[in-house]
Amino acid sequence: MTLLAERPSPLSHPEEPEHGHEPSGVLNWLTSTDHKVIGKSYTITSLVFFCLAGVMAVVIRTQLASPDGTIVSQHTYNELFTMHGSLMLYLFAGPFAFGGLANYIVPLQVGAPDMAFPRLNALSYWLYLTGGLTMIAGFLTVGGAADFGWVAYAPLSNAVNSPGAGPDMWIVALVLTGFSAIFTGVNIVATIFYLRAPGLTMFRLPIFTWNMLVTAILILVAFPVLTAALILLWCDRHLGAHIFTTTGGGVPVLWQNLFWFFGHPEVYILALPYFGMVTDVLATFSRKPVFGYRGMIFATISIGALSTAVWAHHMFTTGVVLLPFFSLMSYLIAVPTGIKFFNWIGTMWRGSLHFTTAMLFAVGFLIVFLFGGVTGVLLAAPPVDFATHNTYFVVAHFHEVLFGSAVFGGFAGLYYWYPKMTGRMLRERLGQASFWFMFIGFWVTFLPQYLLGLHGMPRRIAEYAASEGWTGLNRVSSVGAYLLFISVAIMVVNFYISWRRPIVASGNPWDGQTLEWAAASPPVHHNFTWLPPVRSERPVWDFNHPEHTTQQHRQSDHATDGLVGVATTGFTDTGEESE
């Protein structure tokens, strides 16, 4: 099997390729099909949406800081929490991972010159940007933006209960960003299957790339369902289809089933990439290989598989789903997630841990996500869910897992790969200050919300009576939100300083282990001028520390220079069968 031998290898062009014909500046940004330009555009755009949604969260927390909050009207409040959730989930957490960091890093980690379908990649970004702007533009319409929550439950989301252009723009925006995600998913799968460097078998891929493969497959399972459901909802609103309304013989709960069949894989689409980032960061800053590498891959695959069979745990209180089945499936997800925790601890165990900002965020993720995971197991018990569903307990739980992954995990990845993407280092001192504000602010914000939920405070309420006794905990939670705001502000300052007064980053500033660190920072036009031989899952480490490779990985003794031309396509470890 010499599937990859025909491809013009970047190895055969040691000098930097000619690219004087490339446009520069804005024209480059508009016309580029380079995964690095698109990846950076995605990263910046998604971080802008993150900041916008964060400001909305600050307004929401200010409204709730006192009873009978009057900072914003009930209508505005409803728009704010809807758009906060929609921006964070659809426009930040997903696109930041698979459009931003994965787009930039996956081709580098597999040793490829670009994504498999560069023009499709550009189309993904433009669909995403257009969709995002369409959603935000809802605020400019007469009736305001969508205000039916990010889940848009039928029949609240139909034309009678939510009239106006804002909700329509929300629907169209999600169809656009949905297609963007699907195209990116196709691209990632094709890139990982077909563009791997010689010697890079499946079981030598970095964990981040493995997780992106499973994520991309989940995108292909989940997003078409959402896109189809949104089109049905649009038909209900404009063509009188009555699919989700009782009046025409439709079934409102059908929307919930379709939505959560997307929605639960979606939360793993939002988590798995960040698990991957954290894994790579922990291994690099522990100077060790990933512990239980294969077990971790199987854990990721089983999380992906189970995540398609747990959607109705969002619907326990509807009274129309099979409780024991969805409860058991949800509990079972704790098993592979637990395996991952032991992999992460095993990776750090007896390592040499260096606490850069990236490492701090990665360890912060472990601490935060564990608590979110445990409260997730509680919610998977239908009786406990009856008591806490739609309360702040659930709000605290999903912020702990989603904020834990997308923000702690995502910022670990961002700090880790920022030198690769920009050729500049971020200031460590500012980064660490931002981490501590975030870590403390996080607990101050969300621990009181668990208690509020247990004390009976429902989610999505614009105001509450002083007699409820929720004022004190709400106030603490709001203070925490301001700490989080400060943390992000420090980070923005850090980006600004690195832009104005750069400290140049080398190709491999962290003693990284995987192929992206064999490229320059930032990589040249087609990424690599040189690749080390790939004989394990950490070729750059093997090359830099030949006396400290993993003993258990047998070396192929005839491939001693960098020009390994033969790759296996099967799931083999050593590649020796291909001789």
Binding site: Q74, F148, K288, G292, L451, E463
Partner: protein, 258 residues
């Protein structure tokens, strides 16, 4: 060890166990839920402490001392991997058993409820229609008097409807919605259930404690969702009957007058 402690916690739960912030439950169903809650929280805390301890040990003990140190490059341990896969599966099996037992208790519906109440959740209020044991209407309707866009009042405010229930009785609730999805949520009962358009949901409350409890709509239902409140009053069965009779006569009179 976690298994043993979980089992112990489930047996002890509900007696003098700490509540971990939750309501103890003012109904039989709510108390069942509370026991499961306590057991699972204790198991969860034990697991979390073990894992956190391992994380903290790693970050303190294995901090880099010299910039050139390279640790031993071990990367797996089959035995350890089997153990940390198998133990969670056993824990899950154990928790799942107690979950199903509790769930069946909470969701059980009596064939002879003392009272049947049709609860209608609508934008933005509640209507409670009382029937006798044979399903005949007793002519009593409690309805919300509140106009939306009041500033939030206590759910005990007379502006909001009050669901009155007899103590130590099993009451059946038949919950529906004429418009969007709502949720009847009584925190002190540890219970919430959706009101779905086109599909009545039926469940029982077996009351154990007199008092006034707050109720909310917990499923977001649009503009005035935050003000869709009610209260539940549980009183001795005799008082309840007096209240019901008084309501019957006053509502019959006002019906005749109009």
């Amino acid at each position: 060890m976690p298994l043993f402690l979980l089992g112990g916690a489930l047996v002890l739960g509900g007696c003098n166990a700490p509540t971990f912030g939750a309501f103890r439950g003012a109904t039989v169903q709510g108390k069942d839920e509370f026991k499961l809650w306590v057991g699972m929280v204790i198991a969860g805390i034990i697991v979390a402490i073990i894992v956190w301890a391992l994380i903290f040990w790693s970050i303190v003990r294995y901090r880099r001392r010299r910039s050139d140190e390279i640790p031993r490059q071990f990367h797996s341990s089959l035995l350890l991997e089997i153990v940390y896969t198998a133990v969670p599966i056993v824990i899950v099996g154990f928790i799942f058993y107690f979950t199903v037992v509790t769930e069946n208790e909470v969701d059980a519906v009596s064939t002879h409820p003392a009272e049947t109440i049709h609860a209608v959740a609508y934008r933005w209020g509640w209507r409670f229609i009382y029937q006798d044991g044979n399903g005949r209407s007793q002519g009593v309707i409690v309805q919300t008097g509140a106009e939306p866009a009041l500033l939030a009042q206590s759910p005990n405010s007379p502006l909001y409807p009050r669901l009155v229930l007899p103590d130590h009785s099993t009451v059946r609730i038949v919950l529906t919605s004429p418009d969007v999805v709502h949720e009847l949520y009584v925190p002190a009962f540890n219970f919430g259930r959706n009101a779905l358009p086109g599909h009545p949901n039926v469940f029982d409350f077996t009351t154990t404690t007199t008092g006034i409890f707050q109720g909310h709509c917990a499923e977001y239902c649009g503009l005035y969702h935050a003000e869709m409140l009610f209260s539940v009053k549980v009183e001795a069965a005799s008082q309840f009957q007096q209240w019901l009779t008084a309501q019957q006569s006053s509502q019959a009179q006002s019906g005749a007058a109009s």
